[in-house]
């Protein structure tokens, strides 16, 4: 079935919004929001890949691509910032490797509690 003329723009807009939501979740450290966006992102990429690539409003699409690119850079920056802290902190506190230098996750078994604190 052929796509409606503006469906590519709509999908691009949703892609922007999703990437911006991921960025917001990375600032707020909201894991649930991140998990919710995973499915949306995958679905959107599939929709765009299979869309009828007839563009009527090139200016609008160009603006959306710029916005999405900026949102993606933001996600990578914030993700990199968290990974840097998480990797170092977990290594320091648990003495085991959790994230490699390339940022990939390494499965580990954590030791039991080292300190019991109560507030």
């Amino acid at each position: 079935m052929a796509e409606r003329p503006d469906s590519l723009i709509e999908s691009a807009e949703r892609l922007c919004e999703t990437l911006e939501r991921i960025g917001d979740a990375l600032v707020a450290l909201d894991a649930n929001a991140l998990l919710e966006t995973e499915g949306t992102l995958e679905q959107l990429l599939a929709v765009i890949a299979s869309a009828d690539h007839t563009v009527h409003d090139k200016d609008a699409l160009e603006r959306l691509v710029g916005r999405a690119a900026a949102a993606l850079v933001r996600c990578r920056q914030l993700g990199g910032s968290f990974s840097g802290i998480a990797g170092t902190r977990l290594r320091l506190r648990t003495g085991v490797e959790t994230y490699g230098r390339d940022g990939t996750f390494t499965e580990t078994q954590l030791a039991g509690s080292a300190v019991k604190v109560t507030t």
Binding site: L8, L15, L19, I22, G23, L26, V27, A28, L29, A31, N32, L34, L35, T37, E38, L41, L45, I48, A49, H53, V55, K58, L61, E62, L64, V65, A68, A69, A70, L72, R74, C75, R76, Q77, L78, G79, S81, F82, S83, G84, I85, A86, T88, R89, L90, L92, R93, T94, T98, Y99, F105, L110, G112, S113, A114, V115, K116, V117, T118, T119
Partner: protein, 460 residues
């Protein structure tokens, strides 16, 4: 075996310990919005039984700890000065940007009106009214260049004044930190949580103003240095920064930490001070040079054309604008030749001595659609390039400020989430979040490719 007194004593100790825990919780709740407050945790421990036959010695408070996260703090102290630097640049450039005026109603409009009056003169080359109009618009254009140059000077002076004021703030905070260090040193660090919170707030405040290196000592004191390791506060001693003004009134920032006074103006890379120095010494001078180049080119190109023609008296043409000798200062000095301004007949319109010739007036009018000498830009493009430079620098600073602030917000949230929890909880939180991030990050490569495809659709 415990007697009644021992049992009561144990109960009292346990109650005291629990009350202490409640106090700490109350303190945490009361200070939830206090800047720099670090969540307190009470560490309980079982008291050793007095004899092997006792059921136990009860519970007692071992220590009150503050949930600090030095790694996160250090990272925050990197992000905050960068955000503050970009914020200072963005603030200053917003003022410069506003001073440039609206497109079509600023120097671009004055340029267009000036060339258009020459076009009108070419229609009536002997008209005194048209000649007066050329002079008036030439003077208006000159004033527009003069004003714009003055605005850049004022913006530069404002940045300079802010540098002075910021140095004073840094010195006040450095002294405050030295006082806190003195107090921290005099008491047991484990009981100095409030002072350490204050210390952290002061260090963060210094970090907003200038990029710093912090060394924390076991006795609870913190040393702070700036630039290439120049001491600002060492223990209970503060080394004040000073300023020294050049002949133009622009100040340099000096340290007194070493035996020799050192100029550290160009060593500062972060914080508000670095942003102000960048605006004052790099960005605004660059805009000023662009403006001077434009004024120089406009004046020179007009003069080069009119001096090949003849005035209404049939005499060889004289410069319309005062010819600048060098580019530097051309905008500030731009003016209509006083002789021409006093006598409209000296305005050159003709290429020959024959009355009614309009070739020079037409040639000057055509300059507005011709690239200026030595450039590829028309006069109005030269102005457009300057406006574009300011706008892109301003937008880049705002964007960078926002990006660094967001990372700082993320780190602050991280500090909140990990303070006061056990290692297990912290590790679980971090791993869960990292997994959730990676779930999205695995699509980022595909998003990149998709954006490339979409961009190709726009371009072709």
């Amino acid at each position: 075996m415990s007697d009644l007194f021992t049992l009561l004593n144990r109960s009292v100790r346990a109650l005291d310990a629990q009350r202490f825990g409640l106090d700490a919780t109350g303190e945490n709740i009361a200070n939830v919005n206090t800047p720099g407050y670090t969540r307190r945790s009470v560490l309980f421990a079982e008291v050793t039984p007095p004899d092997p036959y006792s059921a136990g010695g009860g519970v007692d408070v071992v220590a009150v700890t503050a949930a600090r996260a030095p790694l996160v703090d250090a990272r925050l102290r990197y992000e905050q000065p960068t955000a503050a630097r970009e914020g200072a640049v963005a603030d200053q450039l917003a003022i410069v940007e506003a001073g440039l005026g609206d497109p079509g109603a600023s120097l671009d409009a004055a340029l267009a009106r000036f060339y258009n009056t020459y076009a009108a003169l070419s229609q009536s080359p002997t008209s005194n009214t048209a000649r007066q109009q050329v002079i008036v618009e030439g003077q208006t254009l000159s004033r527009a260049f003069n004003d714009m140059s003055t605005r850049f000077d004022t913006a530069r002076q404002n940045a300079n004044n802010e540098i002075r004021a910021t140095v004073t703030q840094v010195n006040a905070l450095a002294t405050q930190l030295a006082d806190i260090n003195k107090q921290v040193r005099s008491i047991d660090p484990s009981n100095a949580q409030n002072l350490l919170d204050q210390q952290s707030v002061v260090i963060d405040a210094i970090g907003q103003l200038v990029d710093i290196h912090v060394i924390n000592h076991e006795d609870g004191t913190a040393d702070v240095s700036i630039g290439n390791g120049r001491a600002l506060t060492i223990g209970d001693k503060a080394y004040a920064l000073s300023t020294s003004a050049s002949s133009t009134g622009m100040v340099s920032i000096l340290t007194s930490g070493a035996a020799v006074t050192t100029d550290v103006t160009n060593e500062l890379t972060g914080g508000r001070l670095a942003g102000l120095v960048k605006v004052r010494d790099t960005l605004i001078p660059n805009y000023q040079t662009q403006l001077d180049q434009l004024a120089y080119s406009v004046s020179t190109d007009v003069n080069n054309v009119v001096t090949t023609g003849y005035d209404l008296n049939g005499a060889a043409g004289v410069n319309f604008f005062v010819q600048p000798s060098v580019v530097a200062g051309a905008a500030r000095a731009m003016d209509v030749n006083a002789a021409v301004a006093a006598d409209g007949r000296l305005v050159v319109a003709a290429a020959t001595t024959a009355p009614g010739n309009n070739a020079i007036a037409q040639a000057v009018a055509n300059l507005q659609d011709t690239a200026m000498t030595g450039t590829t830009a028309r006069p109005v493009d030269g102005w457009g390039n300057l406006v574009y430079s300011v706008a892109t620098d301003s937008a880049a600073a705002q964007q960078s400020q926002k990006a660094h602030e967001q990372v700082a917000d993320q780190l602050t949230n991280l500090r909140e989430q990990i303070s006061g929890v056990s290692i297990d909880e912290e590790a679980a939180m971090m791993m869960r979040f990292q997994r959730a991030y990676e779930a999205n990050a695995r699509f980022f490569r595909a998003v990149d490719d998709t954006l490339d495809q979409l961009l190709n659709l726009v371009r072709f």
